[in-house]
């Protein structure tokens, strides 16, 4: 009879083969290594139980002689990474069960679109007659306008030229929206979802980052952007000051920034130098809220202070995990912001994408007051499994294709 399986362990005499009939002990072949796929002709009927010894001789390894191509280790993935892919599947199952339990409808919107989003610092990947999405936001908002009240999506998004320990050009986004809801309801969702997924991975509501454990049980501490910039960078941010004024304040705080820096560049010079490292040192997650309006292209301004928008970012272990907006529903202001983005893109020599007129039309027909969030699923898996790099939670990185 034929026994097929993988070499689980091998020493000089005995190999354990895990395969279609369970684990079997067979005489070892000196050429075998753990992970090899082998086919054996066994002399006796092999039992199914672990540890059964069968007299066998090796007929062939499926691999045969090394394929005369570049590298012969293509089929092998590090064991730790394979374990993380199992964890990733469990995280995805926990995530779907989270949304199902809260009455959300899972949707799938197109990945190939005519208008990929105009955000100044995102570049889309051209495909066919259009672009691959950088986020499913526009189409999901059209579903809200059509009458859906709670929708979520897990999909691939694509961003050109993004590659680093926390970035992959193709990555998985979880995006969800609640109609007739405020940003607080979304913050509560994020907190509970992260706790659920971490529990599914490790049994406890803790995330792991940089060798530390972070208690993610809700509710999470909150801080406004103004307060964070004041406390950690010594920089006062109004939100409507000229770029040069903000750059001067940032420089006065001892942070290097060009005198002619744009408003957002001056802000991020201080934010990256002082605020992000301070957030990374916290032993709890953080909801960083009330962002200056210039940094919230698709968010509503607050009634109390029009220089501030309904936006928060959720940080866990220093990792920027999710970005949420109280959605802008006014088509006139939305068009004005799109046109401003296009003007800046043109001035900076960036690709010009068409305005999504169907989104504006849908806003005009009526988007209920809504709140929504985009959460990086790969980063969530990193936190749930303690992975140091996004590469460790992907089946294959772009470099491995």
């Amino acid at each position: 009879m034929i026994l097929r399986g993988r070499v689980l362990a091998v020493d000089e005499q005995i190999a354990i083969i895990r395969g279609e009939r369970g684990d079997a002990r067979v005489p070892a072949d000196p050429a075998w290594r753990p992970g090899d796929l082998v086919e054996l002709e066994a002399e006796a009927e092999a039992g199914a139980g672990a540890g059964d010894e069968v007299g066998a001789r090796r007929v062939r390894a499926y691999g045969g002689p090394p394929y005369p191509g570049p590298g012969t280790e293509v089929a092998r993935l590090p064991r730790a990474r394979m374990a993380r892919l199992h964890d990733r599947a469990r995280a995805l199952a926990a995530l779907r069960s989270f949304f199902d339990g809260r009455g959300f409808v899972e949707v799938e919107t197109p990945l190939l679109v005519p208008s990929p989003g105009l955000e100044i610092h995102l570049e889309a990947v051209p495909a066919g007659a259009g672009y691959l999405i950088t986020s499913p936001e526009y189409q999901m908002k059209r579903l809200l306008a059509a009458g859906f009240e709670r929708v979520y999506q897990v999909c691939k998004c694509f961003r050109a030229n993004e590659r680093g320990p926390h970035h992959a050009g193709e990555f998985t986004m979880v995006e969800w929206y609640r109609g007739y809801a405020e940003l607080d309801a979304i913050a509560a969702d994020v907190e509970a979802l992260v706790a659920d997924v971490c529990r599914a991975a490790s049994g406890r509501a803790v995330a792991r980052a940089g060798g530390r454990e972070i208690d993610v049980s809700p509710p999470w501490p909150r801080l406004t952007v103004r307060e964070a910039m004041r406390r950690w960078a010594g920089v006062e941010v109004a939100g409507d000051e000229p770029a040069a004024a903000l750059a001067a304040v940032v420089r006065a705080a001892g942070i290097e920034v060009a005198a002619d820096a744009a408003w957002d560049d001056a802000f991020f010079a201080a934010f990256l130098a002082r605020v992000e490292p301070a957030i990374a040192a916290l032993d709890r997650p953080l909801i960083l809220e009330a962002w200056p309006a210039p940094l919230a292209a698709l968010a509503r301004r607050t009634d109390e202070d029009p220089r501030i928008a309904h936006r928060f970012e959720a940080y866990v272990g220093g990792l920027e995990l999710a970005n949420a907006f109280g959605e802008l529903t006014d088509p006139v202001e939305q068009r004005a912001r799109f046109e401003e983005d296009l003007r800046i893109r043109a001035a900076r020599g960036k690709a010009r994408y068409p305005i999504d007129e169907k989104l504006l039309a849908a806003l005009d027909e009526g988007l209920p007051p809504s709140a929504g969030v985009a959460l990086g699923f790969d980063r969530l898996v990193m936190l749930a499994t303690g992975a140091a790099s996004i590469d460790q939670v992907l089946a294959f990185t772009a470099d491995e294709l």
Partner: protein, 187 residues
């Protein structure tokens, strides 16, 4: 020209007229902010390390540098002559470029020579060389612990502290970065 997506370890770029080698880089992109690559460069001429943030869209000029595997032929006064084995081209390099390790260089030693604008600017030796001991006093009988060292002269003329059990005719492995004895090599 290179842009930020070309940045990787070992990329050779020209900044302010000097050739640099990328030794570390990290992509940084805050949500809603501009992306940049935090990059550490090592000056190929001086060894000095500088850090710069290269913004997405910014260009870097390639440095006209070239690394060639060559073989050490012989010394000629204060100069060393190397040969490119692929085309038998010879190049003469001042011994100053190599520094202290020059007295560990034996004929036919494989090295890497870095050229900047066609001129040799750096020579990298293998980390270890294997040399025969040509002169050394016999060790004191009984002390074989290896903790006590004595001087030994190797075939290239360098003097290396070695354990007492090393004898004339032995081949030893030496670290070219530190001039330290590593181990005796079985013949």
């Amino acid at each position: 020209m290179y842009d930020t997506s070309d940045i990787r370890k070992g990329l050779k770029v020209l900044m302010d007229g000097n050739p640099y080698n990328v030794i570390e880089f990290q992509f940084v992109k805050p949500g809603k902010g501009a992306a940049f690559t935090r990059t550490k460069f090592k000056n190929l001429l001086t060894g000095a390390v500088v850090e710069r943030n290269i913004r997405s869209g910014e260009k870097l000029e390639p440095a006209n540098v070239d690394q060639r595997d060559m073989q050490f032929l012989y010394k000629e006064g204060g100069d060393l002559v190397f040969m490119d084995q692929s085309n038998y081209e010879q190049v003469t390099v001042s011994a100053d470029l190599i520094g202290e390790a020059v007295d560990l260089m034996k004929d036919n030693l494989p090295v890497t020579v870095l050229f900047f604008n066609e001129r040799p600017v750096d020579v990298t030796l293998p980390t270890f060389v294997f040399l025969e001991v040509t002169a050394s006093e016999p060790g004191v009988r009984g002390d074989t612990s290896g903790n006590v060292l004595k001087p030994a002269t190797v075939e290239t003329g360098a003097s290396i502290p070695v354990p007492l059990f090393i004898r004339i005719g032995d081949t030893i492995k030496i670290d070219t970065r530190t001039h330290e004895y590593v181990e005796r090599v079985a013949k």
